[in-house]
């Protein structure tokens, strides 16, 4: 299995797109080696702006750039680019539906060492709550590349969540990325597992093991959290005995919230897996933290089996 890093892929994709489109400009807040925008800076020093440790200013500044036809990509860790700047995103960007791309790097628990202050457990929730906002959490590098291309073509505000650590490549190469469209990663008839980000891989591993035990699980990658395709979610939930959602995010306002809301009234049992109503914490590595919060294939299997009782 090929392991790749979403941040690196993002950095490389920006260069590729930058060559084709000179309206792309990149803003950084003193984390360039981590967000990988230093790659763009090396290639296009004139279109890369170091804004210092001043994220709020960076967002409204990007709004100004976008009004002249530029396509600004705003970069920081997800906690800061979505949280520190929330009001600036709301007032300067979302309200006016401006063409600003907000990148949430080292999102979720993926900045394992730094702990709670640096782990964005609520970024999807707060970004989803904003009218006009598009919210995307790619599951791997292949999807990241496609998603970055798609959002560059799309005219409007977008938030993208990226993982700090290497992830296995699982997204079908030939699948066209369409904003808003969930992707069936594995067909199955007994259970539907809706997953986002790094959890899509865990869901696939769970589906493999369940298959050995005679349970056929469908795995759906819900990488666009907004606009949320409720009709597609309903269709993908038809005829199964149970539904599981899994996300590296708080239980409030993320994938689980969106799916259970979309499926209100259908009667099929639903289990959700998330970080819960908690902050993160430090750990020696990413895996250890995912296990600590039950964000694993094993826990998905447990939940699926629970639905059978």
């Amino acid at each position: 299995m090929v392991m790749q890093n979403q941040r690196k892929t993002y950095g490389d994709t920006l260069i590729e797109l930058g060559k084709q489109n000179d309206r792309i400009v990149v803003l950084e807040a003193d984390l360039g080696k981590s967000t990988m925008t230093f790659l763009f800076e090396q290639e296009f020093p004139d279109r890369h702006f170091e804004m210092g440790i001043a994220e709020a200013n960076m967002v409204s500044f990007a709004a100004g750039l976008s009004l002249t036809g530029k396509i600004p990509f705003v970069n920081s860790f997800a906690v800061f680019s979505s949280g520190r700047t929330f009001d600036q995103i709301r007032q300067s960007v979302a309200l006016g539906k401006l063409n600003v791309k907000i990148m949430g790097s080292s999102a979720g628990l993926s900045d394992f060492g730094d702990g709670a202050t640096h782990q964005s457990v609520e970024d999807i929730a707060i970004m989803r709550a904003l009218p006009n906002m598009t919210v995307i959490a790619p599951c791997d590098s292949i999807e990241t590349k496609k998603a970055i291309k798609a959002i560059t073509e799309y005219d409007g505000p977008v938030y993208v969540r990226l993982c700090r650590n290497d992830l296995p490549n699982i997204y079908p190469e030939d699948n066209e990325f369409v904003i808003g469209k969930p992707v069936v990663m594995r067909e199955g008839k007994d259970i539907t597992i809706f997953a986002m980000g790094a959890m899509v891989y865990e869901a696939l591993v769970a589906a493999d093991k369940l298959n050995e035990e005679g349970i056929s699980a469908k795995v759906v990658n819900v990488s666009t959290l907004k606009p949320f395709d409720e009709e597609a979610i309903k269709k993908l939930s038809e005829g199964v005995k149970g539904i599981v959602t899994v996300e590296e995010h708080a239980e409030i306002g993320g994938l689980g919230s969106a799916v259970t809301y979309a499926l209100r009234g259908i009667g099929t049992p639903i289990e959700t897996i998330s970080i819960g109503d908690k902050f993160g914490q430090s750990a020696e590595n990413y895996r250890e933290l995912l296990e600590h919060y039950g964000l694993t294939a094993d826990n998905i299997i447990r939940k699926v089996k629970g639905l059978y009782k």
């Binding site: 950084e28 003193d30 984390l31 360039g32 080696k33 981590s34 230093f38 170091e50 804004m51 210092g52 440790i53 001043a54 709020a56 200013n57 906690v79 800061f80 520190r84 060492g113 730094d114 702990g115 709670a116 202050t117 640096h118 914490q281 430090s282 750990a283 020696e284 250890e288 933290l289 600590h292």
Partner: protein, 280 residues
């Protein structure tokens, strides 16, 4: 301060530096650079200046310290451990999943930590609140703050500074660790916050500039600050990022990278040699 006292502070600082190296190395991540540059200031505060009690970390009348640049948790933890708030061997649990020593300071789990920090510039605002509360309650505790020079790029620093001067919080003493570096490079190249001292003067603070690695100068500045009435105190500390470990000094690359075992051993050996030279 007499020479004996200065010598003792120097040794303590070297031991705190050893703790920083050991902890970040054991964790495999963390921030040695900015921890080492502010170590002497921390040593002075916790071993000479602050009214604190290791047996009662939450004593109501204690002086407070807020590490506004929360990524420098290693120096805060190492100082607190050296001072006796918790066992020094716990430093080796830094950033582990069951440890109370998280990547950024948590006031609810670490004895002696007065405010949780990690998102830059929020600490100084909380410190302004603590200082104002001290005035309201007619207490004489003081509030000390450790800040980064890159941190000054956050607008919130200036909002806090305006408020501190507006409310005449002379019970506040802020130290800017002026090591000239942030993550992406030199502060003057990333987003220039200079002239630092002049800016705080313009914001209504009493400002002093010192060599952050000279205990006599730290002492003088803190004593001067006590004489000031009606203005918050800023001590601009000219420092060297990575101070005390030759291969880390002045290197932006050591901002947030932990020493590997062989680097740790070299660093500890250097610091031991330094301590031996002080003893001689």
């Amino acid at each position: 301060m007499d020479q004996k006292e200065i010598l003792s502070l120097k040794k303590t600082a070297a031991n705190i530096r050893k703790g920083i190296i050991a902890a970040t190395s054991a964790a495999g991540s963390g921030h040695p650079g900015g921890s080492l540059s502010i170590t002497d200031v921390m040593t002075y505060l916790y071993f000479k200046e602050m009214n604190i009690d290791v047996k009662q970390p939450k004593k109501p009348d204690r002086d407070r310290f807020v590490m506004s640049k929360g990524h420098c948790a290693p120096v805060l933890y190492s100082t607190l451990a050296e001072r006796g708030f918790f066992p020094k061997e716990d430093l080796l649990t830094l950033r582990k999943v069951d440890s109370y020593l998280e990547g950024h300071p948590n006031m609810h789990t670490v004895p002696g930590v007065d405010m949780s920090t990690g998102s830059l510039a929020q600490g100084i605002s909380a410190a302004v609140g603590m200082a104002l509360a001290g005035k309201l309650d007619k207490k004489d505790y003081r509030v000390f703050v450790g800040m980064g020079d890159g941190e000054l790029e956050e607008g919130q620093v200036w909002e806090a500074s305006m408020a501190a001067a507006h409310y005449k919080l002379d019970n506040m003493v802020c130290f800017v660790d002026y090591n000239g570096l942030q993550i992406d490079g030199k502060i003057t190249e990333v987003m220039n916050p200079e002239p630092i001292a002049d800016k705080f003067v313009a914001f209504g603070w009493y400002v002093q500039s010192i060599d952050a690695h000279d205990f006599e100068q730290i002492h003088q500045a803190v004593e001067n600050a006590k004489q000031q009435k009606g203005k918050p105190n800023m001590i601009v500390c000219h420092s060297i990022k990575g101070k005390g470990v030759s291969f880390m000094e002045g290197q932006a690359g050591w901002h947030g990278v932990a020493p590997k075992p062989e680097e740790r051993d070299r660093a500890i050996a250097e610091l031991d040699e330094y301590i031996a030279s002080l003893n001689a």
